[in-house]
């Protein structure tokens, strides 16, 4: 399986990354090398092997549904690049 520059452009869109033509070319080459190396895993028969989703034996943790103090508006917006009227400001979502 080898990937093309078109695949790289598609994946960049999925990842919300804007790549320049040079970055696209380098990444195509490097991702192919890494994925080719990853093909090594196909030497192993994993039929019937359970995937590891968690290394320890843990179960879901639930807490009591009680109201607790939450972040203040001031704290929540402390690092906001832009804010207005106590809200994060973003450009138009619908164009």
């Amino acid at each position: 399986m080898s990937i093309t520059i078109k695949d790289v452009q598609h994946v960049a869109r999925l990842a919300r990354l804007q790549l320049g033509p040079e970055e696209e070319a380098v990444l195509t080459e490097q991702m192919n090398a890494i994925l080719q190396y990853a093909e090594k895993l196909n030497e192993l028969d994993t039929e019937g092997v359970q995937p590891t989703t968690h290394v320890l034996h843990v179960s879901n943790v639930m807490r009591e549904d009680v109201v607790k103090e939450s972040l203040s508006l001031e704290d929540a917006l402390l690092n906001a690049p832009e804010e207005e009227d106590g809200q994060f400001k973003v450009p138009a979502v619908m164009e």
């Binding site: 919300r16 990354l17 190396y37 092997v49 138009a92």
Partner: protein
């Protein structure tokens, strides 16, 4: 004579008897940073004012006779992917250049409760992705033993700051070797605890199923002290383990008679430098003299660990780093387009090349049509790698080998090919995949550069790992040797 020759337990007594004050210790640490950090570049943010204020408050506490925390008065550094309230936290990324955390990570809060003094935040590979520190957006850390060489990564700043005598201990994080490999390259003690032993709350997530916080120190005893202070269940981390925390210091008995050691042939075979292999075999002789027995074993899936790791870690990273969108914090590049353009531009400007590469790889591995072939396959191989360890631990107490196949390499010598760089982690990655604890301790030098011995234990058996490391350390003096800066 420098106060940096003392262990934490000795400092504790010196503070108690009034031989030294917390302010003096803190000044000693700040002076060391001023003296050497221009060369080493371990610190990204120095909090002189905060450290001095904390030191004064602790001196008052000492005078009042109030009870003292486990790390009382000890100047420390924290890797810059661990959030500290009000103290800039960048993850060594341009994306978070001005990020001011609004809360403390659990470990940062625990250091405060233990009365440690945080001097500042330490350099690292951007978002902990890398093994040489060359991926820091603020310039690489340099190895205190040879300024032309890398300190290792990603906790390179943490390892270098301890090796250079800038702080008495540091916290790092380890996803595929990021505490142990730099500890090995810099000649310090680096412990990766069992997954879930130390809370990850406030650790900026890279690969959530692998990340674990741990201490970098100059001695094994110091490591036990810091681990004691930071281990424990935390309701704020949903993967935190509910286990009893033993007294790690009482595990340091010096007695390893009858200890059964497994040495995987894959860890001392092809691909490991002859000088590293020889040094590790000499260390095994020391352990033998102390009454341990060792045998060669096989961890047959070792050669698949790096491929497994890069698929899983990159996949998790691509998901975790989706939060950096230019809306709530960090870089925002608004060039007048819509919201989608804002995301694209902010992320492209904020992230460095290695971070982009891993996001791309992970997004690809998780994307429609490839999930089974890459991500799921890797999760299954992870099970096989864990089983290798389970089998060996039925007969043996610890697994021992080198921490890294080589000593520290020259800056710039491996930046061209990401895959070569990834292979430096071949001996540390399996431990993260299996979720078990391991420590790297100094075990000698090859051509003047430190070599690390890796001691791997059963899950939640940090006590045995530390006991073996401590017994070895008592009979050698490699940990006492310091770089000339």
């Amino acid at each position: 004579m420098s106060l940096f020759q003392y262990r934490l337990s000795e400092l504790h007594n010196m503070l108690h008897s009034g031989q030294v004050s917390v302010s003096e210790l803190t000044e000693e640490s700040l002076a060391a940073v001023a003296r050497v950090d221009g060369d080493v570049h371990a610190f990204l943010t120095l909090d002189e004012e905060g450290a001095r204020a904390a030191a004064r408050a602790l001196d008052d506490k000492l005078a009042s006779g109030a009870s003292r925390g486990l790390l009382f008065g000890v100047p420390a550094g924290i890797k810059d992917n661990i959030v500290t309230k009000g103290l800039r936290t960048t993850c060594a990324s341009r994306f978070l250049d001005n990020y001011q955390p609004i809360y403390d990570a659990t470990v940062a809060a625990k250091l405060r409760q233990a009365d440690a003094v945080t001097i500042g935040k330490l350099n690292m590979d951007e978002f902990a992705m890398g093994g040489s520190n060359e991926n820091s957006a603020y310039g690489a850390v340099r190895n205190p033993w040879d300024l032309e060489r890398v300190p290792g990564g990603s906790s390179g700043g943490s390892a270098a700051a301890v090796a250079a005598g800038e702080v008495f201990f540091a916290l790092g994080s380890d996803t595929g070797g990021s505490i142990r490999q730099p500890a090995s390259y810099c000649g310090v003690v680096g412990l990766k605890p069992t997954y879930g032993l130390v809370s990850r709350y406030g650790l900026v997530a890279f690969a959530s199923s692998l990340d674990q916080i741990g201490p970098l120190t100059r001695t094994v005893e110091d490591s036990a002290y810091v681990l004691q202070a930071i281990a424990g269940y935390d309701a704020l981390d949903s993967t935190s383990a509910k286990v009893d925390i033993p007294d790690y210091l009482s595990a340091l008995t010096g007695d390893i008679k009858g200890l059964r050691i497994a040495v995987p042939k894959e860890y001392v075979g092809e691909g490991v430098d002859a000088s590293v292999r020889e040094t590790v075999l000499s260390a095994l002789k020391v352990l033998e003299e102390l009454g341990a027995v060792w045998e060669e074993v096989s961890l047959p899936h070792t050669e698949y660990a790096v491929a497994t790791y890069y698929l899983l870690a990159s996949s998790e990273a691509s998901s975790n780093l989706a939060r950096f969108d230019g809306v709530r914090y960090g870089v925002r590049v608004d060039e007048g387009g819509g919201l989608a353009d804002l995301y694209h531009n902010s992320r492209s400007r904020g992230f460095g090349p290695e971070v982009k590469r891993r996001i791309m790889l992970g997004t690809y591995a998780l994307s429609s049509g490839y999930y089974d072939a890459y991500y799921l396959k890797a999760q299954k191989v992870r099970t096989l790698i864990k089983r290798d360890f389970d089998e060996v631990f039925k007969k043996y107490d610890v697994v021992i080998g080198p921490t890294a196949p080589t000593t520290a390499f020259k800056l710039g010598s491996q930046t061209e090919d990401p895959l070569t760089m990834y292979l430096n982690d071949i001996l540390t990655i399996p431990v993260n995949l299996a979720g078990i604890p391991a420590v790297s301790i100094p075990c000698g030098f090859a051509e003047g550069l430190p070599v690390g011995l890796q001691i791997i234990g059963k899950e939640f058996d940090e006590s045995t790992v530390l006991r073996v490391a401590h017994a070895y350390e008592q009979h050698t003096d490699y940990h006492k040797q310091r770089p000339q800066l």
